[in-house]
Amino acid sequence: MSVDRLSRMDDERLGRAVRSLEPILVVPVSPDVREAVADAIQAGRPPPRHLSSRARIVILVAAAVLALATAAVAARFVIDLGGVRIEPPPTGVPSVSHPPLTGPAFGEPTTLGAAGDEAGVRPIVPPALGQPDRVWITRGIEPGSVMVAMAWFPRKDLPRIPGTPYGASLIEVEGDADLVAKYVDPRNVRTSGGAYWIARPHEVELLTGDGTRTFHVTGHTLIWERGDLALRLETHLPLADALALAGLPG
């Protein structure tokens, strides 16, 4: 058989060719993790945190890019967001197109009242946005970690966010656990009114009980904290309008 013949096989035959590799593949040494898992469970240890310990919404900065940023910018990330994880840029990983952050991606549909009951804290609804058209709830890995998401359909003061059916979405994260993470070049992050502003497309990860899922963000996002809540507002508005919607000083 030649490479030429392999490449001409239909899916079924090529699949059977892949299957034929089974007995001659080196199988990774099977780890015996039962004891380690049992120890972790019995100790009540939550899974090792994927991100920094204090941040609820975390901006992840590629190390190579951070080196170009000023120390002041880096320091401000740490102070205002409670922590920053510095990772090498994802070299060697082919770029993947991720779905937009919409609908079921936010979690289970619910109502504002039920979300408040379940989260144990009343979600903040900025008066300028009014009652949300959609509400979802998602639990994080750790007890007490919960994310409430709201969305508003486009209207005169809320242009549609590209790739989504919404004019605005607001994520609120309660609990001392990592649930939302963003990969952002710090040169694309501005600070204003005690909030962070990202007006470039980027990737966002949701770390929930079902694992980690990555989404593509096309809107402009404003991230800030209020008490124990971390908030993330996405719109397609300029900074000043987003700050006004959030009720933050411009």
């Binding site: 060719a17 034929s20 639990r139």
Partner: protein, 190 residues
């Protein structure tokens, strides 16, 4: 790998139910059953990652997520999904390494028993195929591995990949097309 029998599935359903109720010994049995599979999934997704660490963390996360595990759902694709996500998180800092490696061909060694329902490949072709698989994106390699190396059913693949059941075939078909392209590249390599 073969499809689990009804008896195995019934046992597993009982272990899952007890785990949902907080029985850590039952969960330990699930860990024992699936840690080898989990290691392979981690390897397909992120060959350079610390497989043991990824598998361990995935099971700890699974334990904490057990109360939300959908009653009556299959455990195997669910744990595959958690492991794949865990491994994917680690691929960023992992060094490049091949996901699939063939055993050394020992001179004079008896040929391996053929796998039922599999094409018979010459060693050279097997090596080309493995190189092509290793050049695929991890997610494409994973979908092919789920179907042809781990024998997941279509429904299990949909669960494991967290995609609608109707899109599994098209995903697999796209991944196979990419594999075919990579194989063709083998033919033009010096």
């Amino acid at each position: 790998m073969t499809q689990p029998t009804d008896r195995v599935l019934a046992e597993e359903a009982s272990l899952v139910e007890r785990s949902r109720d907080g029985d850590d010994r039952a969960f330990g049995e699930l860990v024992t059953r699936y840690q080898a599979l989990a290691a392979r999934v981690a390897r397909f997704v992120a060959p350079g990652c610390d497989v043991e660490d990824a598998v361990q963390e995935a099971f700890v996360k699974a334990w904490y997520a057990m109360p939300r595990f959908r009653r009556g759902a299959a455990f195997r694709p669910w744990i595959c999904r958690i492991v794949a996500n865990e491994a994917r998180n680690r691929v960023r800092s992992a060094r490049r390494r091949d996901a699939l490696v063939l055993r050394e061909a020992a001179a004079g060694a008896a040929p391996t028993a053929p796998v039922p329902d599999a094409e018979v490949l010459a060693r050279e072709d097997a090596e080309s195929l493995v190189r092509a698989l290793n050049r695929l994106r991890p997610d494409d390699r994973l979908v092919i591995a789920y179907r042809w190396l781990l024998d997941l059913s279509e429904a299990e693949m949909a669960d494991a990949l967290d995609v609608p059941a109707g899109t599994v075939k098209s995903r697999l078909s796209r991944a196979m097309a990419k594999l075919r392209t990579e194989i063709a590249q083998e033919g033009v390599r010096p």
